[in-house]
């Protein structure tokens, strides 16, 4: 049995006439770390709210561990852990009071399931007497994760846990998720950061309520068929403008310290591109054929 089964799920909101989910279908397998990768407005939060039984879909079906999200909502609420995108702990309770509160609500104790949260909790334990509202962003995030785990859920839903978090804390958070995965917990996590896709077993690239592609990260990359070139010169801004004007260019996007270029004609070589740029008076031109990353793939699949 799949841990999560979603079939043709649709949801729209009357207030802004937006169809948040336009018929989504996918499964999450037991023990999988599954990523929903997409920008704001993709429908990620709507999907989480349906799976955690907080809102009802317009049509389609979804089950979590075999339970239907509409009929069996009481069962689902006992076995899932949920970390919403917005910090939702009690700001005026201390760290340990929050944890005890969530344990009690789920009819368990902190001691009973301590093993599961131990590695994460010890990082915030020095501040256990501090009110949750007074914690820094990184510590709030760790406490929220502990509270979502304290009843030993079989599946964890994490809605944008790393949004607004710096690059170092993001890395640490993903290390924590790998640790939980080893303990057998199925995890469905959403993120707008494309680079986090490579840390998942499988990902769905999602935009405007539709899945653009669903595969292993490597599978998504292998589906990118066009040759991709990384280009740089001594004047990156002029280079970007010149490459966009180049009549052979199909797409050209800035990517940190290089520009990623695809051409209309797949037979062209690095020498051809270099020669063109030298004619445009660029110096120190470097052109290398590269493997795309998830962000390249996402942009190639996007509907604008």
């Amino acid at each position: 049995m799949n841990t999560v089964e979603i079939t043709n799920l649709k949801k729209s909101y009357a207030t802004n006439k937006v169809q948040a989910l336009q018929g989504i279908t996918f499964n999450v397998q037991p023990g999988e770390l599954f990523g929903l990768i997409g920008p704001d407005g993709a429908g990620k939060t709507t999907l989480f709210r349906i799976l955690t039984t907080l809102i009802i879909p317009d049509s389609g079906t979804a089950t979590v561990l075999g339970f239907d999200v509409v009929k069996d909502f009481k069962e689902i609420r006992k076995i899932v852990g949920y970390m919403p995108g917005k910090f939702s702990l009690y700001q005026d309770l201390t760290v340990e009071e929050n944890l005890e509160f969530f344990a009690t609500v789920f009819n368990t104790t902190v001691e009973e399931n301590y093993e599961l949260i131990k590695d994460i909790y010890i990082q915030i334990e020095p501040f256990k007497k501090r009110k949750a509202g007074k914690l820094s962003g990184g510590m709030k995030q760790k406490l929220a994760l502990c509270c979502a785990l304290i009843h030993k859920p079989e599946i964890l839903f994490l809605d944008e846990p790393t949004t607004g978090v710096d690059a170092v804390s993001r890395k640490e958070f993903w290390e924590m998720l790998q640790g939980l995965k080893v303990q057998g917990i199925t995890i469905l996590v959403s993120t707008p950061y494309m680079d986090e896709a490579s840390l998942c077993d499988r990902v769905a690239l999602i935009q405007k309520g539709e899945i653009l592609d669903l595969n292993t990260p490597q599978g998504i990359i292998e589906n990118y068929k066009k040759p991709l070139w990384a280009v740089r010169s001594d004047n990156m801004h002029r280079l970007l403008n010149d490459l966009r004007k180049y009549d052979q260019t199909d797409t050209c996007y800035a990517f940190g310290d290089t520009h990623h270029l695809t051409l209309k004609n797949s037979d062209m070589t690095a020498d051809d591109i270099e020669r063109h740029l030298q004619n445009e008076h660029h110096h120190y031109v470097e052109v290398n054929k590269i493997e795309p990353n998830i962000e390249d793939c996402f942009m190639a699949l996007m509907k604008i």
């Binding site: 820094s136 690059a167 170092v168 707008p192 996007y253 942009m299």
Partner: protein
């Protein structure tokens, strides 16, 4: 010689025992794209609030757009632009109403407001949509409009606080085209981001650690100093030094 539009000397902010910003000294030139990086809790927000005239420093000196942060905070507010991903436009107001509201807040007189509004609507090619609520615009256009509104009163400097958070990859890159255009017109762009590829697009990047400004150089210079292949590696090396908990 380019004009200096931000200049600080040992700028410090303490909250009780806690030193949020610890004697930072730096300068930013006219037309520069200045990346302002740091881990969560490193002091970025506090520093930015002081530079925008929203928070009074504890000690040190700073001038922004030619005004003193201690004595002329109100003048600073009138002479800068500000935009963030979270705080931007009023969704229920029309495009024209948003432009006029912000232009009015930034102190444009009625005549300028009228001509600048029309010029902006034309430049963005939003004539057809100008009387529709902002809510109906695609995200990329909203961003473009929010940025244009933030610089409508032709400030010397615009502060962008995580302007591209949560935005799709193509819109994110289009936003950087706007940044380059503004800089080319002589507006200084002071920008924070958690996307390390965007750090590469800045002329210079500063990285704050535990309230101090531990690094300040061009992206190429920083990569050389820290023997790193990417700005991500530079950032990780510096941020891992932090003693303070994020």
């Amino acid at each position: 010689m380019e004009e200096t539009v931000i200049s600080t000397h040992k700028l410090t902010k303490r909250f009780g025992e806690f030193t949020a910003v610890d004697a930072i000294t730096f300068e930013v030139s006219q037309g520069e794209i200045f990346g302002f990086l740091g881990a969560n809790g490193a002091g970025k927000t506090t520093a930015m609030r002081m530079l925008c005239g929203l928070l009074s420093p504890t000690s040190g000196q700073a001038q922004v757009a030619g005004f003193d942060v201690f004595k002329q905070a109100e003048k600073i507010k009138q002479n800068i632009g500000y935009m963030s991903q979270k705080f931007s436009l009023y969704e229920d107001l029309t495009i024209r109403e948003n432009i006029q509201l912000y232009g009015g807040i930034y102190g444009l007189n009625n005549r300028d407001l009228k001509s600048k509004s029309e010029a902006l609507i034309q430049r963005l090619q939003l004539q057809e949509e100008s009387n529709k609520p902002v809510r109906s615009l695609p995200l990329g256009w909203k961003q473009k409009l929010a940025f244009s509104v933030a610089i409508l009163h032709e400030p010397k400097i615009v502060f962008l606080d995580e302007p591209t958070g949560g935005v799709d990859p193509i819109t994110r890159r289009q936003f950087w085209d706007l940044i380059y255009e503004a800089a080319a017109e002589g507006i200084t762009v002071f920008v924070t981001t958690h996307y390390m590829d965007e750090a590469e697009y800045c002329n210079r990047v500063s990285i704050m650690v535990d309230g101090r400004m531990d690094a300040l150089d061009s992206p190429a210079g920083l990569k050389k100093t820290y023997q790193a292949n990417s700005m991500d590696e530079v950032f990780v090396q510096l941020a891992r030094r932090a003693v303070r908990s994020g």
